[in-house]
């Protein structure tokens, strides 16, 4: 091949790479643009402080969905953190434990499962025995999504803590549990928090597993044994509704969700960059 043709091909492929990147980034800009422009118009005091208006009527707000999101997501994070952090500790601090190969396989597999399946599982395990939809069942579904994320993050950070710290503790005569709880875990605190934040961000955006677990509820409630609304759920219901004003509020919900999730990801990213954290 002549040199000129090789140069030409080089330039051409460079152009294609730029174009391909542009093809991906342009829609992203459009999405962010529309979410911001349409969403900002929907945000007012009423949006944050009122219960939804009856179908077809203008006005009303997202208070139950905002509160419900907080309750369901934090409850899910609590469940997931208890099990996920323990699993991460087992994987990293007891490397020879016979459960570990299964644990690693299982958490990898769970991370790749479609979220909606977790909703089905929570429906069968919680909604059916209780006889009605509930925020609790939604939290269980989200927890199943969050657990593998937390497990992986915790294992990753703990492995980055130098083994010498553990050895130093043991050399001082500290028992294993004190070494882990007072030396290793505090050193890894930032990374574990990052993992929790990423898990929360992931769960907070999910609507699919909540459709038939948390279900939705137009009235404000703090009781997770009742049906609850969350922002993604409300967004979905409003988006496919025929009402103009609900569409407007759906954009508002999208803006809040996107902003919260971007913030969580940004904080997680910054934490990872500054300290001895995973990746």
């Amino acid at each position: 091949m002549s040199l000129r043709r090789r140069y030409f091909r080089d330039r051409l492929m460079q152009l294609l790479v730029y174009l391909g990147t542009l093809v991906v980034l342009l829609p992203l800009f459009f999405i962010l643009y529309y979410v911001f422009v349409q969403g900002i118009g929907a945000l007012n005091l009423e949006f944050f402080t009122r219960e939804p208006a009856p179908p077809g009527e203008a006005g009303g707000g997202m208070l139950p969905a905002i509160v419900g999101s907080l309750v369901v997501d934090l409850l899910a994070l609590f469940f997931a953190a208890v099990f996920g952090i323990a699993a991460g500790i087992l994987l990293a601090e007891y490397p020879d434990h016979p459960l570990n190969p299964f644990l690693r396989l299982v958490s990898d597999v769970m991370a790749g499962l479609p979220a909606i399946l977790m909703g089905l599982v929570a429906f069968v395990l919680v909604v059916k025995p209780m006889g009605h939809f509930s925020g609790l069942s939604g939290a269980v579904a989200l927890a199943l999504i969050m657990v593998p994320i937390i497990t992986r993050a915790t294992e990753g950070v703990l492995k980055l803590i130098p083994w010498e710290i553990t050895e130093a503790g043991l050399a001082l005569g500290l028992p294993r549990w004190r070494v882990i709880s007072s030396l290793v875990l505090p050193a890894a605190r930032g990374g574990i928090l990052t993992g929790l934040m990423l898990a929360l961000a992931r769960g907070a955006g999910e609507a699919a597993p909540l459709l038939f677990t948390a279900f939705g509820n137009p009235f404000l409630t703090l009781n997770p044994l009742e049906p609850m609304d969350t922002l993604p759920l409300k967004l979905y219901v409003y988006a496919i509704s025929p009402y103009e004003d609900w569409h407007r509020q759906a954009w508002g919900a999208a803006l809040i969700l996107a902003a919260a999730i971007m913030l969580a990801n940004y904080l997680a990213r910054r934490a990872t960059r500054t300290g001895g954290q995973p990746r």
Binding site: D10, M13, V17, F30, L103, W177, L235, A250, A258
Partner: protein
């Protein structure tokens, strides 16, 4: 506190509670499998496993449940989305690793990751109110009227140009899975040793030849497993697809017309299902989706493990 209590019992209790909680994760995963398996038994008993998979009628009123339409819908949307997403995803990964540096690299990498972080419902909302009208006005209507005038044989393939249907769902799905393929490809490309590139440059290769002959072959395990993981994402993606695909379980599927995927069918019908058989059929669809997702993930892991052997990947 006596010493043995502090030393021995403390250790015992601590490791015991860690093991119990961690086995909770294993139990949870087994429960996922067991619950879906049990729940689907009624449907499988009624129609047979293969009968259920290949049955082409999904009719809740008549109590006929065949999973072929949503299965086909899932396969079509995922394959098409993967096809559309592959080259842009590779391009973004190459851009980040090979064609940019410093601040720009960080910003683009962050933006690509942001695509993965945005909730599915937000894509769906944008799809309904922004993408669908555009697709209808600038893609479907012109194509449809051209076909009506010049190639009427194509019309049954195209379907009604309403904007809501397979095409819009595929487009949004493609955008949503780009970051998954891109992230793994990016990591794999970044692991290619600089010396490999330099050796090729020393032979007088152009930048593209270095990428084509050295960088991409070296990173192919990561690129492939990224593709398979993106496929796994596409198979299970629910909300955006449900909002855009039109939700019709009637075959045949057309390019513009409404369709359904396994995930969208579950999302759409589960709360309305009243007969036990209908519920069981939906859970059975979930079970099939579980099997496909498991298979895809195992293939991705297998590729990553197998192809990275002997390539000096760390």
């Amino acid at each position: 506190m006596p010493n043995w209590l502090y030393q021995r019992l403390g250790d015992r209790l601590f490791s015991l509670s860690i093991v119990i909680l961690a086995s909770g994760v294993i139990v949870a995963a087994l429960l996922v499998f067991w619950v879906l398996y049990r729940g689907s038994q009624e449907a499988f008993a009624t129609f047979g496993f293969w009968g259920f998979l290949t049955g082409s009628r999904w009719d809740a009123v008549r109590g006929m449940f065949g999973a072929w339409p949503p299965l086909l819908g899932t396969l079509i949307t995922s394959a098409a989305a993967l096809f559309l997403a592959f080259f842009p995803a590779l391009a973004t990964a190459l851009f980040v690793v090979e064609f940019s540096g410093g601040r720009l690299r960080e910003v683009v990498a962050y933006l690509i990751d942001l695509l993965a972080a945005l909730p599915s419902v937000v894509y769906g909302l944008w799809g309904i109110f922004v993408l669908v009208p555009v697709v209808r006005a600038y893609v479907e209507l012109p194509l449809f009227s051209w076909a009506a005038a010049h190639a009427p044989g194509l019309l049954p393939l195209l379907g009604p140009p309403t904007g809501i249907g397979l095409l819009s769902a595929i487009l949004v799905l493609a955008l949503m899975i780009v970051p998954y393929a891109s992230a793994l490809a990016r990591d794999a490309l970044a692991l290619v040793p600089q010396s490999q590139r330099e050796a090729m440059y020393a032979l007088g290769a152009t930048r593209w030849e270095v990428i084509r002959r050295v960088v991409i072959p070296y990173a192919r395990a990561g690129i492939f497993s990224g593709v398979v993981l993106a496929l796994a994402r596409a198979l299970g993606e629910t909300m955006a697809v449900t909002m855009l695909i039109g939700n019709s379980v009637n075959l045949p599927y057309t390019l513009f017309g409404p369709a359904a995927t396994m995930a969208s069918l579950i999302a759409n019908e589960f709360t309305e299902a009243e007969q036990d058989l209908h519920l069981s059929a939906l859970i059975a669809v979930g079970f099939v989706l579980l099997l496909i997702a498991l298979l895809t993930n195992l293939v991705a892991t297998w590729i990553l493990g197998r192809m990275s052997h002997g390539e000096g990947r760390k």
